[in-house]
Amino acid sequence: MKQVKILGTGCAKCNQLADAVKAVISSENIDASVEKIEDIQKIMAYNVLSTPALVVDGEVRCKGRVPSSTELKDLLTR
């Protein structure tokens, strides 16, 4: 199972990314758990200044924007 984390302090874009990730996981039947990380200290453990950020299995795969569904599918399955 993939461990997916959404890093963001709770702004609109962060919530957009979380919703988009959940939608792609559902539509593509990806075996994954999704966790939102809003605590700044925990976010900065990944040393990410631009949020929202997408972390898959411990790797930051996207930061500072909300990717398209097509790109998200790639980011979540690669």
């Binding site: 302090t9 702004c11 700044i40 200290q41 453990a45 040393n47 500072g64």
Partner: protein, 132 residues
């Protein structure tokens, strides 16, 4: 990860009076509206921090500040991750600084903070609905 050292604006003001460096990470349009009036001030916008953090001295105490203390806390951790051991976050930002009546140039018009998304600018209407 070690927890960031944080101080309130009153403590920060006292330290700036003694000459500590204050690094303001708000964006230029925010600074143009209102800025800290302290002896030692450095402006490095949050959106440029990854490229410019080397300008911040590593061998002395520095206070990081922004609008409400969120971006500055991220910046503080970012600097800690890059070996800065004497970096301090100022909680509640220039908004609380202004409320306390500490020295400023200009006047704050907006109460919401800049964007946590890194690209940075708060909404011009002060509501900032699109972010943070």
């Amino acid at each position: 990860m070690k927890e960031a050292l944080e101080i309130c604006p009153t403590t920060a003001f006292g330290l700036t009076e003694k000459g500590i460096l204050l690094v303001d990470v708000r964006e230029p349009e925010e600074v143009a509206e209102a800025s800290f009036d302290v002896r030692n001030l450095m402006l490095i916008p949050f959106s440029q921090l990854e490229e410019r953090y080397h300008e911040i001295p590593v061998d002395r105490e520095v206070i990081i500040a922004c609008h409400v203390g969120e971006r500055s806390l991220m910046a503080t951790y970012f600097l800690m991750n890059h070996g800065y051991e004497q970096v301090i976050n100022m909680q509640n930002g220039i908004v609380r600084w202004a409320e306390k009546g500490f020295p400023m140039k200009g006047a704050l018009k907006r109460k919401t903070g800049g964007c946590c998304c890194g690209s940075g600018s708060p909404g011009t209407d002060g509501t900032n609905h699109s972010c943070c």
